[in-house]
C-alpha cells in the first residue's frame, strides 16, 4: 500500500513538473497575450493540482493534508479570478486577440 502511494505520488509529481515546464514554454513562445494567458492557465490549474496532489499522498499527518487541500482550493478559486481581471484589463486597454484573417497590426496596444 505504501509502495503504491509512493509510485502514484512520484507519477503525479513528474507529470506536474512536466506540465509546469510546458506551460512556461507556452508562456514564452506563444505569439499573443491571450494565447499566453491560455498557456499560463495550464500551470495554474492542472500542474498545481497534480503537484499538490502528489504532495498530499506523502503527507505525514492530517493537518499537513488539510493545509495542502486548503492551498489547492485557494489556488483553484483565485487563478480564474485574477485571469478574468487580467483579460478584462487588457481588453479595456485596447488589446485585440490574434485572429486569423484579420488585420492584427494593433494587437500591441496598451504596451509600455
Amino acid at each position: 500500500m505504501s509502495m503504491l502511494t509512493d509510485y502514484l505520488s512520484w507519477g503525479l509529481l513528474i507529470l506536474g513538473g512536466f506540465l509546469c515546464v510546458s506551460g512556461a514554454v507556452g508562456l514564452l513562445r506563444f505569439p499573443d497575450f491571450f494565447t499566453r494567458m491560455h498557456a499560463a492557465s495550464v500551470t495554474d490549474t492542472l500542474a498545481a493540482g497534480m503537484i499538490l496532489a502528489g504532495l498530499m499522498l506523502q503527507a505525514p499527518s492530517w493537518i499537513v493534508f488539510a493545509k495542502l487541500v486548503m492551498i489547492l482550493v485557494f489556488i483553484l478559486l483565485t487563478a480564474p479570478t485574477s485571469g478574468h481581471a487580467l483579460a478584462k484589463a487588457a481588453l479595456h486597454a485596447g488589446m485585440k486577440p490574434l485572429l486569423p484573417g484579420k488585420n492584427n497590426a494593433d494587437n500591441t496596444a496598451g504596451g509600455v
Binding site: C20, L27, V64
Partner: protein, 95 residues
C-alpha cells in the same frame, strides 16, 4: 522525486522570468509575475517536503494570498492608466 519536481518548477520559473523581462506589453509582465507567484507557491511546498519540514505550508498559504492580492492590486492600479496613451478613442471616451 521531490528534487525532480523542484527542478522542473525552477526551470519554469526561469522561463516565466524571461517573459516578464521581455514581455512586449504591461499585461504580459503581469501575467508572467502571476505565473511566477504560483510557481513560488509550488516550490516552497515542495521544498518543505524536501527538507522534511512540512510546516513550510503556512508560508505557502501566505504566499498564495499575497500573489492574488498583488495581481488584483496591480490591475486596479493599471486598468485604466495604461490604456490612456495608446488606446483607441472610444475606450477613452467612456472613462
Amino acid at each position: 522525486m521531490f528534487t525532480a519536481a523542484a527542478i522542473a518548477v525552477l526551470v519554469s520559473m526561469g522561463l516565466a522570468l524571461v517573459r516578464a523581462f521581455a514581455g512586449p506589453t504591461l499585461y504580459d509582465r503581469i501575467l508572467a509575475v502571476n505565473v511566477f507567484g504560483t510557481k513560488t507557491v509550488l516550490l516552497i511546498a515542495i521544498a518543505g517536503f524536501l527538507s522534511g519540514r512540512p510546516e513550510f505550508l503556512d508560508i505557502v498559504m501566505v504566499y498564495a494570498l499575497m500573489n492574488f492580492i498583488t495581481v488584483i492590486g496591480i490591475l486596479r492600479f493599471f486598468e485604466y492608466a495604461a490604456g490612456k496613451e495608446t488606446a483607441n478613442p472610444e475606450s477613452i471616451k467612456d472613462q
